[in-house]
Amino acid sequence: MRDARLEIRIGGTGGQGLILSAKMLADALCAAGQRVAQSQTYEPTSRGGYCNSDLVVSDREVDFPLTTALDCLVLLDRMAVKPSWLLLKRGALVIADTRLCPELPGGDYRVHHLPLTRSAIELGSERVANIVALGALAALSAVCERKALEQAVRADTPKSFLDLNMDALAAGYGLAARATGDAPRAALPSCDRG
């Protein structure tokens, strides 16, 4: 069976902007002609409760729009580990924040511990950690073109935050480059896009 699905989760806590970053990624993928379904799980506590935002990407209509086997997982809080870890596919890409998610269970995954929130703080606001994470995710997964993502981030950012968000996105790409020794990224093996 030809499985054209690519599943991505950005997990953390409410208020970290997970849904916004997933939406930006979805916009970029959509602009590139991909079919996307973006969903979220959240708790009634608007701030601080467990939250994740998921993307299912395909080159045809997405049948089941929820994630069942993750190709990529971004962890911006340790709270997101438990509900997500069992969903990981073998060899999946895992990006975890060094500060907020320092420990991970073992497994056969491509794990990158990156200082996402620290980079955001250095840029001036921890609130852009979601955008740093987005940049790192896009770079390490090669899920979409950098240009398309930059355009989506620009479109979804209020003017006063534009510079900060674009810097954050670039910082994410930078972290990914350092983590992989600037090696060019190949598309994920599970993502069949003909």
Binding site: C30, V36, A37, F64, P65, L66
Partner: protein, 389 residues
């Protein structure tokens, strides 16, 4: 291009939208010019969107003091001749029931969105459920007809919202749009066509006042309504009424008029009934599901067929009145029927009723976790194995 299309065009170009957003856009495109609501998760996005959209098209948005007032105001606006919508979720849907019964009995067109979340009572506000299937049909007291549409994707929320307004007007009835939290807050790529919009307008009374009967029985035709101010000066009541709209307790008159009301959809089933059948012709197991469970089933079919197990899906898009004949036809050759649903057993009861002697298996889930494609495929395989031994 009309003014509505023009107003919507920039948004129609957007291809990634959420279910609730699609509902709001479709309502405006269908000619809805009045919304009354009360904040409730996970339907509030519809109200928020319409609070911006409606003033743009000279419509009215009002946040009322409670759920009951919201449906009442919607029926009031519709009695004034304006297409009207309210949106809510479980607890609010419970509160609206008495007035939904009024709209059904007095035959006032309106559309009610119920986004299903966990229950009973306050339940799980941010988690999906499909526990209002029976309530959407039987929630108000007494005997009454109602149409319930159950879209399963963002694209379908758009098209079914359009159809809901059409059916409300052509059948003079409240129409419920019933979908779960997943579909409501799911953002999907969709292609919307600007030309899709108003397809049905209300049938207004014409001719002499003396000859006009607001509840006339004319074969299977739905009686025309009269617009306040047009000279007909009719009476509308929640009491059992005669053809002229005035209350009566005369057994013969009540039986005749209530009988017409209860049977009034039968002449319009071609327009009302809607379903999707995938792979049912050769399926060993036919799955019957709506909403997110149907989306899971769609994928389960593929997973199972790849492994040699032939599954099919029957998905009622019009949930009530249930497309019974279509289900019987779809399940005719199946060895088993499986109903995955996010409740303790509702759709499966109706499927059992319709299919009579056929054993109906079910996955009943009420913990807020959607049923997965793998679970459905595995259960279908187990059901067949059970049958074989």
């Amino acid at each position: 291009m009309n003014a509505v299309d023009k107003a919507l065009l920039p948004r129609l170009a957007l291809r990634l939208i959420s279910g609730n957003h699609a509902c709001a856009l479709a309502a405006v495109a269908a000619g809805c010019r009045f919304f009354a609501g009360y904040p409730i998760t996970p339907s509030s996005e519809i109200a928020e969107r319409l609070s911006r959209l409606l003033p743009e098209v000279d419509g009215v948005f009002v946040q009322m003091e409670d759920e009951i007032a919201s449906i009442a105001a919607v029926i009031g606006a519709s009695m004034g001749g304006v297409k009207a919508l309210t949106a809510t979720s479980g607890p609010g849907f419970s509160l609206k029931q008495e007035n939904i019964g009024y709209a059904a009995g007095a035959e006032i067109p309106c559309v009610i969105v119920n986004v299903m979340r966990g229950g009973p009572s306050t339940g799980m506000p941010t988690r999906p459920a499909q526990g209002d299937i029976m309530q959407s049909r039987w929630g108000s007291h007494g005997d009454y007809p109602i149409i319930v549409l159950a879209p399963a994707s963002v694209r379908e929320i758009y098209s079914e919202t359009l159809r809901a307004f059409d059916l409300a007007e052509t059948c003079r009835t409240p129409v419920v749009l019933l979908y779960d939290q997943v579909i409501a807050q799911l953002t999907e790529t969709v292609e919307l066509v600007a030309a899709e919009g108003i397809r049905a307008e209300r049938k207004w009374a014409s001719g002499a006042r003396e000859a006009y009967q607001p509840y006339a029985s004319d074969g299977g035709a739905i009686p025309a309504m009269s617009r306040p101010g047009a000279g007909y000066r009719v009476h509308t009541t929640g009491l059992n009424h005669a053809e002229n709209g005035f209350p009566t307790q005369d057994p013969e008159t009540v039986a005749r008029n209530l009988g017409r009301l209860l049977g009034k959809f039968e002449h319009h089933r071609d327009a009302i009934d809607s379903w999707q059948a995938i792979g049912c012709e050769d399926a060993e197991v036919v799955i019957v599901a709506i909403g997110i469970s149907a989306r899971a089933a769609t994928r389960a079919i593929e997973l199972a067929r790849a492994g040699g197990l032939r599954l099919g899906l029957f998905r009622p898009i019009t949930l009530w009145p249930f497309p019974e004949d279509a289900l019987r036809a779809a399940a005719k050759h199946a060895r088993a029927v499986l109903v995955p649903e996010m409740n303790a057993g509702q759709l499966s009861l109706e499927v059992e009723r319709i299919l009579g002697s056929k054993r109906v298996h079910a996955i009943h889930r009420y913990n807020g976790e959607p049923i997965t494609p793998a679970e459905i495929a595995a259960r279908a395989a187990a059901v067949l194995k059970e049958k074989a031994t």
